[in-house]
Amino acid sequence: MVSQRLLREGVADETDLKEIIPPDYALDKGPVAVAECFQEIPCNPCSTYCRRGAIVLENINDRPIIDYDRCNGCTLCVSKCPGLAIFVINKNFSEDEATVTLPYEFLPLPKKGDVVITLDRYGSPVGKGKVVRVQNTRYNDKTPLITVTVPKDMIMNVRNIKVEA
């Protein structure tokens, strides 16, 4: 069951997120994926593009549950998810910073080193972050991935960025 907030406004609430927050041991390891895909829909690219077998769907309508013993945060699934619902979070990017890797299909694209505004699931600003990586290869097929720094306690909050003109 998804929350009323998600059903009515399109924003996941704590009860939705509780089910998908990676366990501490996984977060301590390094980058891992989170799939914010809470509804059973007929869709499976996340599973077919993962080379580590971290997302197994027996039925195409199953929800993607990530196996954190297998997921290494490689980001291969992120640009293939048509729902743009997968993010890779890395709690241990540096001593005091974490990162979030998110799909970003808007222009202009930020460049590595740029400082961008970070946004939450409502699209409201929550801070600023530095772009540490931009992936925009043929594999990404017009769904570039941006990796941005965030405070360690914000890895489950930052889900979008705004590039200042």
Binding site: N59, I60, N61, C81, N160
Partner: protein, 362 residues
């Protein structure tokens, strides 16, 4: 008079897949589309598709159209573009086609597959005919095929997949989307689509409808209002929206005029989008030799439209006597895929609608 084994009317995902499948079985196939290009709805879709990899999930709609068109070329299917099927002579089983503006030709086929897709619904409210109020399909065509921005500030009416996706595409084009509203109490489209528009800062207001639009010659604004569970407007809950464009995405109806004309038995099934033809397991309607597939059979998805098209194409060719040896296996495979796609909770509406239709068939 054009003579062919299998005629396919409509070159969207359903029609293209039907033509490919029938040609693979060995039939001579003619595909007809009123547009100047094959692809149907796919041509407008710049987003990645859902579904499974067999149906090109994660590929953008217009790229899927190109893949299917390439496959068609390899099979030397005859293609008639800018050609509209306008009528059916029941007695001799001949289709009337209008080529371009004023040339009429007749076509006789051993079997015909109708894959004409769907038509957009409109919404009733005062001033709903003001310039600046568009259907979602028109907005997509303007924006994604012709690169024209429909306006600066848009109100999207409808939070189904189409409303959500077109909102996202408007944002990508740099247009402001003031809000997405829907009279239903919950978002009808996939929640992942809703979330991705929401995190761009676009409010989604469920249980809201349009009270009226206003403007002298063109749309200058609109009033929206909250509705209760009975969809009655709640006085005092009006919100004025400063917008110059309204985009209506409240659903589709199967485009079935040709099937009515041909005398196919039709039934009104809301879960399937309105009036739909009664059909058997082979996708044949109650008029022998006329098959149906895709949105014309029931409003669903491109993924299922492609599989249905395949099935109709396989069955039509097989009924004439063609078989490349793979008919049984291909058919079985397609049926399994279709069932898998429809097996989840979001497939329940279609499953129930199809059950109702099947009851009507007997």
């Amino acid at each position: 008079m054009i003579n062919t084994d299998v005629a396919v009317i409509g070159g969207g995902p359903a029609g293209l897949s039907a033509a490919i499948a029938a040609a693979d079985m060995g039939a001579h196939v003619t595909i007809i589309d009123r547009n100047h290009e094959l692809g149907g709805q796919l041509l407008k879709q710049t987003h990645m598709f859902f579904g499974s990899r067999e149906e090109y999930a994660s590929t953008r709609g217009f790229d899927i159209a190109n893949i299917l068109k390439e496959e068609l070329k390899e099979r030397s299917v005859e293609v008639l573009l800018n050609t509209t099927a306008v009528g059916y002579y029941k007695d001799d089983g001949v289709w009337a086609l209008e080529e371009g503006e004023d040339k009429f030709v007749k076509l006789k086929a051993k079997k015909t597959i109708v894959a004409t897709g769907a038509m957009e619904r409109h919404l009733l409210f005062p001033n709903n005919d003001l310039p600046g109020i568009y259907g979602a399909g028109a907005v997509q065509t303007l924006m994604n095929q012709y690169g024209v921005m429909p306006g600066k500030k848009v109100l999207m009416v409808g939070a189904g997949n189409i409303g959500l996706i077109v909102s996202y595409q408007l944002l990508q084009a740099g247009v402001e989307v003031s809000a997405i509203i829907d009279a239903a109490p919950a978002i009808g489209g996939y929640l992942v689509h809703a979330s991705k528009v929401r995190r761009q800062g676009v409010p989604i207001l469920t249980s809201y409808t349009v009270k009226r639009a206003y403007g002298n010659e063109v749309l200058e604004g609109a009033t929206i209002v909250k509705v209760d569970e009975g969809f009655r407007q709640i006085p005092g809950t009006e919100i004025d929206m400063d917008i110059d464009t309204m985009c209506i995405a409240v659903g589709l109806n199967p485009l079935v005029e040709l099937l009515w004309q041909a005398g196919c038995k039709m039934r009104y099934i809301p879960q399937l989008g309105g009036h739909v033809p009664v059909k058997d397991e082979d996708y044949e309607t109650t008029v022998k030799g006329i098959y149906v597939a895709g949105d014309a059979a029931e409003i669903e998805e491109a993924t299922s439209a492609m599989v249905e098209g395949r099935l109709a194409g396989l069955n039509a060719a097989h009924a004439i006597g063609f078989d490349n040896g793979n008919y049984a296996r291909e058919k079985d495979n397609a049926l399994k895929r279709l069932n898998a796609l429809r097996s989840g909770p979001v497939g329940a509406k279609i499953r129930n609608g199809l059950l109702k239709l099947a009851e009507e068939a007997v």
